[in-house]
């Protein structure tokens, strides 16, 4: 019994110490020496990117250039764990693309690819088992005690990548600074970014249906009342047509129109959560009115993504919310909507202000995640970074072609314009998740139709300047990490009930008050401490 008591005391002491260390571990990216951006002088895009972050655009795949001359591995092996979206790939012994990549790398990469739904479970079990691979994806939700984990288990990459040091890895150095901010914790660079195109956009609209009600673009809509009128004109249940229909009501579109903050609003160091703002409530009330007046497909809030996609490309729904990357490619709306409904065209939804002013979009897709490196000696870290440098080869390079399209002749053939066309086995050969270990900045590319590239690039050009970043994106709050999702769920459920007409707005306000009481105020205090540090 005495020993049990001693154990309890020891355990309690250790836990208390653990809690004190975590509670004060807030972080700000401004404290770190970020890598210097060194653009690669490689391919000239058809439409140049901008300093704002608007991506470059290509109408066809450029003549490939070699970006990595020397094989990073000298017969060695690198281990990794990362997400797998979609199909499991062909195994290495039956995968010519995998074999060719490892031949270029000069060694082996043992990847533990885990379905995104299971990643948290598997990763945390692996951590508990003490068996960490060299490269580990941080998807933003799998690791609740991220700061402690980084400090205890992950390499500080600042000496190897900070400032001019990154020039040893030219492909990583070409990634702009905005993407590196998410890799910083406690003033150190702890991981590599997986860049995306800054904004997920505001959704898509069937332009042909819009033209039938007298508009060529949603930019012509004046305000929320004009929007309501347009939606009413687009809705005709007797012809199986509705204006709106998206999973969870496609609320991002509404929030952009009503200028809801991107997660938090920072007013001189004072933070307000988006759910606490009048704009948020106004967007919810507007959506509730639209639902009540029958402008949403009944029940569409519960649709799977496949159901939403089918409804849009069949012409049943005029406007949906989906991320901008869903526009290009053979399964993108740019191609699938006209294929299903000839003479119909999908375009990105460009939002307008609810009061006639400008809209506000979100910079909510800066990185997919980050990739941490296990603590190791410098030689091993440099080897792993060299592999990451290979995987981050830019669009237009031989390495990018190999990683994303596979082996020429087996996984793809080139058409008359030099664009790769996939064979039947390409899907499974190229499903190895290299792009979730390291990746370059994205570009806009679709070889099938120049207008798809022009349309999407134009959308990015309009949406990114309207974008606001989450002021807390590069900060860390321990309470947000452990409790954030749990205490936000009742608010999300209440909003769904209000929009679907099952509850009044008071229910949502009560849920928001509950969020504040159950941890929201603590999260705010932690973020403000980091912001003002």
């Amino acid at each position: 019994m005495a020993s049990l008591g001693a154990l309890t005391l020891f355990g309690a002491g250790a836990l208390t110490a653990c809690g004190q260390r975590t509670a004060n571990s807030v972080s700000n990216a401004a404290d770190a020496l970020l890598p210097k951006t060194i653009p690669l002088k490689a391919q000239t895009p058809d439409i140049a990117g901008t300093a704002d972050g608007v991506p470059a655009a290509f109408y066809k795949y450029p003549a490939p250039f070699r970006s990595v001359e020397k094989a990073p591995l000298n017969g060695g092996t690198v281990t990794a764990i990362t997400n797998l979206f979609g199909t499991a790939p062909n195994s290495r012994d039956k995968n010519p693309a995998w074999q060719a990549i490892e031949a270029r790398l000069g060694g082996k990469v043992e990847i533990n690819a885990v379905s995104s739904d299971d990643y948290g479970t598997k990763f945390n079990t692996m951590v508990a088992g003490g068996d960490l691979p060299d490269l580990m994806l941080n998807d933003g939700s799998a690791i609740p005690n991220i700061v402690e984990f980084l400090e205890a288990k992950c390499a500080d990459l600042t000496p190897l990548l900070g400032g001019d040091a990154i020039s040893a890895y030219p492909n990583l150095a070409a990634i702009p600074e905005i993407f590196w901010k998410n890799t910083v914790q406690a003033g150190k660079i702890y991981s590599l970014p997986i860049p995306r195109n800054l904004t997920g956009g505001s959704g898509f609209v069937n332009q042909t249906l819009l033209q039938k009600v007298g508009l060529s673009s949603t930019e012509e809509i004046k305000d929320k009342d004009d929007f309501y009128k347009v939606l009413k004109d687009l809705t005709n249940p007797s012809k199986n047509q509705w204006a709106l229909g998206s999973t969870k009501f496609g609320m991002t579109m509404m929030h952009h129109i009503f200028r809801t903050p991107n997660q938090w609003r920072n007013s001189n160091g004072k933070l307000t959560r988006h759910i606490e703002t009048d704009e948020y409530l106004a967007a919810v009330e507007f959506a509730a009115k639209l639902y009540k007046d029958g402008l949403y497909v009944p029940g569409s809030e519960g649709w799977t993504k496949s159901q939403m996609v089918n409804a849009f490309i069949s012409g049943k729904v005029a406007m949906i919310y989906d991320g901008l990357p869903a526009y290009t490619g053979p399964t993108g709306y740019g191609r699938t909507l006209p294929a299903a409904n000839p003479a119909n065209k999908a375009v990105p939804f460009i939002p307008f202000g609810y009061d006639g002013g400008k809209a506000q979009t979100w910079l909510d897709n800066i990185t997919f995640g980050t990739v941490m490196l296990k603590k190791n000696d410098d030689a091993k870290l440099k080897e792993v970074l060299s592999v990451a440098n290979f995987l981050a080869a830019p669009f237009g390079s031989e390495e990018f072609l190999l990683l994303n399209y596979g082996v020429a002749g087996t996984d793809y053939t080139m058409d008359a314009n030099g664009n790769p066309i996939a064979t039947d086995r390409a899907l499974l050969d190229t499903a190895v998740p290299w792009k979730y270990l390291a990746a370059p900045q994205q570009v806009v590319f679709d070889p099938s139709d120049r207008s798809i590239v022009d349309t999407l690039h134009s959308a990015y050009s309009k949406l990114i300047p309207l974008g606001v970043a989450d002021p807390c994106e590069t900060l860390f709050s321990p309470t947000q990490a452990t409790e954030g999702s749990k205490i936000m769920q009742p608010v999300s459920d209440a909003a769904t009930a209000v929009i679907a007409g099952r509850a009044q707005i008071g229910t949502l306000k009560d849920a928001i008050a509950g969020w504040k009481k159950n941890g929201g105020d603590t999260i705010r205090a932690e973020y403000e401490q980091a912001l003002n540090a």
Binding site: T125, D131, T304, Q307, S314, P330, T331, A340, G406, A426
Partner: protein
């Protein structure tokens, strides 16, 4: 008064179901059976048809095609290219057959041993087994055990940790205890040992319960995906994990980073994988159906 009652009253004592069926009732029964068959077969047919359809047809039919106008085998070519699905199917078959055989062997041996009154420590072993029905070790201790035994990323990690189920042990033991013990005592008097009695007498009398318990184990091994997710890398995944990945293709969490020019719709691929995974069950079940029916009833009726 019903026809049966009238017949009884008249003294004929023929129940209604022995009378010649009326044409009207035959039509009603036929219609009912057709409707039930249709309800059972329609989803399977729609799955097959959707697996043969293009994105346009799938979209225009709200995700479920019945008669594809331009059927295509693109989805099947995609999933069979490289052998991910066929390899996973073979793995699942081997794991299921080997795992079921081993589990049955271990369960039968332990159940028979626990029926012997003279077994030293029998009660202790039984209680230990029953304890596992109430308490499980949890994910991390199980992972650590599998790791320490060197079973990570091996097929044995799907079989050994779940080799014996306490529930199945209880079912088999109960069945063995209801067999006529006099037979075994007579065999012992004639000089037969326990092992001979088990093989020559007990097992032949236990086909029904073995089929049922074998089914439980077989379904468990065939569907096992959580242990596969935890202990195996994707190059050793069984069919359940591969199928789950294809089903998740349609989920909104997917990251839409640039991919090659691959135009096969995800729903067609999902349905094709469902069709392929049904084939082994459709082949095996008709041969085992009578054993399951008999075995379930045998387990349900005591004495």
């Amino acid at each position: 008064m019903t026809a049966w009652a009238r017949n009884l009253r008249a003294g004929s004592e023929r129940p209604v179901w022995m009378e010649k069926p009326k044409p009207g009732m035959q039509v009603v029964k036929l219609a009912a059976l057709v409707i039930i068959c249709f309800m059972a077969l329609y989803p399977l047919f729609a799955v097959l048809a959707t697996s043969l359809s293009s994105q346009t047809e799938i979209a225009n039919n709200n995700g479920l095609v019945i008669f594809p106008k331009e059927p295509t085998l693109a989805a099947y070519r995609t999933i069979f290219a490289g052998g991910v699905v066929t390899d996973a199917l073979l793995r699942s078959l081997v794991i299921t057959v080997v795992g079921t055989a081993l589990s049955l062997a271990v369960t039968v041996c332990m159940a028979y041993g626990l029926t012997r009154r003279d077994l030293v420590g029998g009660r202790f072993f039984l209680m230990t087994a029953l304890f596992t029905m109430l308490f499980s070790p949890g994910i991390i201790p199980s992972f650590l055990m599998v790791k320490e035994l060197g079973l990570l990323n091996s097929y044995a990690s799907l079989v050994l940790p779940t080799l014996m189920s306490a529930f199945n042990l209880v079912v088999v033991r109960s069945f063995f205890m209801n067999l006529p013990q006099e037979l075994f005592e007579a065999a012992k008097i004639d000089g037969a040992g326990d092992f001979r009695i088990l093989i020559k007498m007990v097992l032949p009398l236990s086909k029904g319960v073995l089929a049922v318990v074998g089914l439980f184990y077989g379904v468990g091994y065939w569907n096992a995906f959580f242990n596969a997710m935890l202990y195996l890398n994707d190059d050793k995944w069984p069919l359940s994990m591969i199928l789950r990945q294809y089903v998740l293709l349609g989920q909104p969490m997917g990251d839409s980073a640039a991919v090659a020019e691959i135009a096969v719709p995800s729903q067609a691929i999902q349905m094709a994988v469902v069709v392929v995974s049904l084939i082994p069950i459709v082949i095996v079940f008709p041969f085992l159906q009578r054993y399951f029916t008999k075995g379930v009833l045998t387990g349900a009726i005591k004495g």
